[in-house]
């Protein structure tokens, strides 16, 4: 760090939520008074925090901001559980033009039309999990029995993980994603999953099936196949990116609807007509990537009243952008009847979540099937006792005990 970048007077990143469903109150003041301003992150790194919807949108589609975070430590919470295992580079660490043809290999698998074709399988997976929950005596923790297995089983299906390997696969992903897992176990499970993914990639190169990994394994980019290491990276990204986010979004959505009876009543009265709009609003209300998306400026960028300098870190707060009254009236209220919300929870620009069409349908199916099956579903503990993941990169619930 050079002398001129040390500003000890900079305020710390605001992180304290007034309640579990609202982002830090400080964001509202920043949107009015200092919409793009510098803060010190818990690990000591300084970064610009972008809080208005329009600025977040503009900067995330600005090609002068890079996703390459490898050259120096990015702003972070330093509370995270680094696994100590470096995952191979994948889409989220690549800028165009390297990113461009590879992203197409993902998005062609996750088009609106393909996800619609997959929907009956998602419904079958969710229904079997709902049946399993119903066989328990309440109270039951929905995070473990419902929220986490849904994306896990769906991604097994998409990646072509053989049925006999799925139990192991799920066990390892639960360890990686479990907030309570210690670093040693996370590292072990990550290594096991990478070994598993490497074997699966090599197998699918010899015997391609009808799945994403097989098509990635035989795909050509710039006239040649992708290396096994890169394929492992893509497999791990597909696994992890769609997993923790979706699982936490389902848990948050269930707890939010249980706490907002009119919204839940609307969903129950007309699931087919309401689910898509309700989930869009829930996505706006809860940006699970709670601290935002991290980028690095590769050039000086003048925006608003500030000049972001080449080399500066920029964090686009999705949670703040979603609550910006300029983009969404009465933004702090959950309103499942509003026209489809303009939310940025999937990001914006060429790195916008490639799995968003899948995630939407997973959450929609999860909510409609769960509430249809359990008309008397309710929290098994007082709301104030619910354990939220306040210090995790992906916000959500550690446990969601329910009864019926």
């Amino acid at each position: 760090m050079t002398a001129e970048t040390v500003h000890t007077e900079l305020p710390p990143l605001p992180t304290t939520r007034p309640n579990p469903f609202d982002p830090p109150a400080e964001y509202a003041r920043l949107r009015e008074e200092a919409p793009i301003s510098r803060h010190v992150w818990p690990n000591g790194v300084e970064a610009w925090l972008v809080t208005r919807h329009a600025d977040v949108r503009a900067l995330l589609s600005d090609t002068r901001l890079s996703v390459n975070r490898f050259a120096s430590p990015p702003p972070s919470l330093s509370l995270g559980r680094g696994s100590g295992v470096m995952l191979p580079k994948s889409l989220i660490g690549m800028d165009p033009p390297e990113h461009t043809p590879r992203r197409q290999l993902y998005v062609r698998e996750l088009t609106v039309r393909k996800i619609l074709r997959l929907k009956p399988r998602i419904e079958a997976i969710v229904d079997s999990l709902v049946d399993e929950v119903a066989r328990h005596d309440p109270p039951v923790d929905l995070v473990e029995t419902f929220c986490q297995p849904i994306p896990s089983l769906v991604i097994c299906e998409l990646l072509g993980v053989p049925v006999e390997d799925r139990a192991d696969f799920q066990k390892h992903t639960q360890v990686i994603l479990g907030v309570g897992s210690d670093a040693g176990r996370v590292q072990e499970a990550t290594v096991a999953l990478m070994d598993f993914m490497r074997e699966l990639v090599e197998y699918r190169r010899r015997e391609p099936g009808d799945d994403i990994l097989s098509r990635l394994a035989v795909a050509e980019v710039d006239g040649g196949p992708l290396s096994v290491e890169e394929l492992v990276g893509h497999g791990m990204l597909l696994l992890i990116a769609g997993h923790e986010t979706t699982a936490n979004m389902i848990g948050l959505s269930v707890s939010t609807l249980l706490s907002h009876p009119p919204a839940l009543a609307a969903l129950r009265a007309d699931p087919a007509g309401t689910a898509a709009q309700a989930v869009e609003e829930l996505l706006r209300y809860h940006a699970v990537i709670q601290f935002g998306l991290v980028r690095k400026a590769t050039a000086d960028i003048a925006i608003g009243d500030v000049m972001i300098r080449e080399g500066d870190w920029v964090v686009c707060s999705l949670a703040s952008a979603n609550r910006d009254g300029r983009a969404c009236p009465h933004a702090d209220q959950l309103d499942v009847h509003r026209p489809p919300a303009r939310q940025l929870s999937f990001g914006h620009g060429v790195h916008q979540c490639a799995g968003q069409n899948l995630a939407r349908v997973e959450v929609q199916v999860a909510l409609t099937r769960l509430f249809a099956r359990f008309p008397n579903l309710r929290l098994a503990v007082p709301f104030d006792d619910l354990p939220f993941r306040t210090d995790a990169w992906v916000y959500g619930l550690r446990e969601l005990p329910v009864t019926w």
């Binding site: 197409q104 062609r108 996750l110 088009t111 620009g349 968003q356």
Partner: protein
């Protein structure tokens, strides 16, 4: 009303196909936008404006 798409900008997020399936689809090969109807009926204008706003990579233009 005329709509154009820029395949060099498109990143295949599918927001247009989700918002206005009558006008936009996605390629099975690349996931990128397919323009089904370059001169859509006027009553679709609000939806197409919405899709244009939602497009993450400014690949749609409404003339």
């Amino acid at each position: 009303m005329r709509v154009t798409v820029d395949l060099d900008r498109c990143c295949g997020s599918g927001q247009c196909a989700r918002t206005v399936p009558e006008v936009f689809d996605q390629s099975e090969e690349t996931g990128l936008v397919i323009l089904l109807d370059p001169t859509p009926p006027a009553d679709l204008r609000p939806d197409i404006e919405d899709a244009t706003y939602r497009c993450p990579s400014q690949a749609l233009t409404l003339h």
